[in-house]
């Protein structure tokens, strides 16, 4: 082997890449740059950025029941939930305040996994940079709420599965309610 042949071989590899960058496709040795703000890589369906809350129909009709499980299980503890109460002080099954500190959130998706009411899911929105982390990155309930249609839009497979599950559960509930209602008529009330 002549001294220097390895270098020359390496030079030809770079020369080849220089030349192919002008006409090959990205996965065959062409340019693999994506010019970001103008062009984007389509997001994967399972991509997870930050959590958001789903509502059905109108924002008042949100799924969250303020059960606080997500806040307890959140590894970096970035979720803060306050349960709503009526005038008499009895707790309601909805949050009065639901705040997620996005600057603390580590995108692990734990909240999504543990939520028993299919309410919190991971979003696809990742361009949340801002000048003020305290004012802009602490997301309150109004900013967190997004419609089920949006959810269906960004993650169709997951959303459809969730919708199907919820429909089945509702039907079961209806059936159970109907069945529970039926014997009430038939059977005489039990003695207390």
């Amino acid at each position: 082997m002549i001294f220097g042949s390895g270098i020359i071989r390496g030079m030809f590899v770079t020369l080849k890449n220089f030349a192919t960058s002008y006409f090959r496709k990205p996965d065959e040795g062409g340019l693999f740059t994506v010019e970001y703000p103008e062009k984007r890589i389509p997001l994967k369906e399972r991509f997870r950025s930050f959590p958001f809350l789903v509502y059905d129909g109108t924002p008042e009709n949100l799924r969250c029941t303020a059960c606080d499980i997500c806040a307890r299980e959140c590894p970096p503890k970035c979720i803060y939930v306050v349960r709503a109460a009526d005038q008499d002080g009895r707790p309601l099954r909805r949050p009065a305040a639901f705040t997620i500190d996005y600057s603390v959130c580590m995108n692990c998706g734990m909240c999504e996994e543990v939520c028993p009411f299919d309410s919190i899911f991971m979003d696809h929105e990742f361009e949340i940079a801002s000048q003020d982390r305290y004012r802009e990155l602490v997301y309150t309930l109004t900013k967190l709420l997004k419609s089920n249609e949006y959810f269906n839009n960004i993650r169709p497979r997951d959303a459809q599965a969730v919708d199907k599950k919820r429909r089945e559960a509702e039907e079961k509930k209806k059936l159970a309610a109907a069945q529970a209602a039926k014997p009430k008529l038939d059977e005489p009330p039990k003695p207390v």
Partner: protein, 390 residues
């Protein structure tokens, strides 16, 4: 054709003629100098600016990236944006630095780089000053930049700068020797030190097409790359080892001046290599200055190509390459050119190749520590082993 070839010469003559109609003689004389100087002062920074862009583009393409493309079409305004950024940046002088040296170093380092342009023959009749010691002038002036690097590294009072400065000087001194010796064959054959006369001596054929010319060209080019501190000889500013070497503590316009000196000397040494070995501005069809620039930019492109491909040497290996490999080869090359000069016909080809080839082989054999070892790797699968060579 003739008109295109002498475009810049005619332009200067036209300007002088116009001046001569209204102004006294001595002003015209001074104007003649000023025009040349201004042309160089415009050309040099412009070259530097667009070389930075070219380098980023070429290396980007080598790495399958696009390179700068945001400022202007194809990023053509990028150098201007960089310049504005450099100018507006804060100028930081370290607390314990030697303020005078710290300030003077970037100023002094640009001077030799610009002075070199005086003897570069950009085209037929386009040498600013046709010195009869042109080559010597080039070598002498470019050796001054070592002092400036010293001032920068010592004046910054930073250990990385100091290390970078010491590396620089060791490298510059070492590579100057084979570089000068590789020029000697050309001077012997052309019997002159003037750049223009050397180009004229290549009318019959470029020197690079002879065995001694090729060897001399390769030695000269490698040394030139080392003199400019370019990859793979960029140990004085090895960013992965000593941060930025001698210009670690520079920011803003002072840093830009170091950058400018580097790129201007890249152009200058390429231009000299073209002058000495590649026939200078000689070439068919195209205007002479275009030929010259094309050849020079091709060499610069090779430098960028090196940068995109090769890792860098270590200090001791760098020294070893200069002293144990390039220097003896350059000395033998001087002998070969003598042989070439005095031998007839085919005999000189056989003879010079017969000397150069074996000596190359012998020097690689003598420098065994630089030759890659062959390694054998075992591939273990529980009990039975298998071997594979690398």
């Amino acid at each position: 054709m003739e008109y295109l070839d002498q475009l810049f010469v005619f332009a200067k003559r036209l300007m002088l003629d116009l001046l001569a109609r209204f102004l006294p003689d001595w002003i015209v004389l001074v104007a003649s100098m000023v025009i040349s100087i201004v042309a160089i002062l415009i050309f040099a920074p412009l070259t530097m600016m667009y070389l930075t862009l070219l380098e980023r583009k070429v290396v980007g393409r080598i790495q399958n990236r696009i390179g700068p493309n945001r400022v202007g079409k194809f990023g053509l305004l990028q150098p201007i944006a960089d310049g504005i950024k450099m100018l507006t940046k804060e100028d930081i002088v370290p607390f314990q630095a030697d303020p005078v040296l710290h300030f003077l170093a970037p100023v002094i380092i640009v001077m030799p780089a610009l002075l070199i342009f005086a003897v570069i023959p950009f085209g037929r009749g386009m040498t600013a000053v046709d010195l009869n010691i042109g080559i010597l002038y080039f070598i002498a002036v470019s050796s001054i930049s070592t002092i400036a690097i010293f001032m920068a590294s010592w004046g910054s009072r930073n250990k990385f700068s100091l290390l970078g400065g010491m590396r620089t000087v060791a490298q510059m001194i070492s590579y100057e020797v084979p570089m000068v010796l590789s020029v000697v064959p050309v001077i012997l054959v052309a019997e002159t030190l003037s750049t223009n006369a050397i180009i004229e001596a290549q009318s019959a054929g470029w020197f690079v097409w002879t065995p001694w010319g090729l060897a001399g060209f390769l030695i000269f080019f490698l040394c030139a790359v080392a003199e400019c501190n370019r990859s793979p000889f960029d140990i004085p500013e090895a960013e992965s080892e000593i941060v930025a070497g001698f210009h670690t503590e520079y920011s803003g316009i002072k840093f830009a001046l170091f950058y400018m000196a580097e790129f201007i000397s890249v152009f200058a040494v390429s231009a000299l290599a073209v002058t000495l070995f590649l026939g200078g501005w000689k070439g068919p069809w195209l205007p002479s200055w275009l030929w010259f620039l094309l050849k020079a930019y091709a060499l610069i492109g090779v430098m960028f190509w090196f940068r995109g491909t090769l890792p860098r040497f270590r200090v001791d290996q760098l020294m070893g390459l200069a002293w144990k490999f390039l220097l003896p080869l350059a000395l033998i090359n001087i002998f070969v050119v003598g042989f070439w000069y005095f031998s007839p016909g085919l005999w000189k080809w056989v003879g010079s190749l017969g000397i150069l080839g074996p000596s190359f082989w012998i020097f690689t054999k003598l420098n065994r520590s630089y030759v890659p070892e062959n390694r054998v790797y075992r591939l273990a699968e529980d009990e039975n082993n298998e071997t594979v060579g690398a």
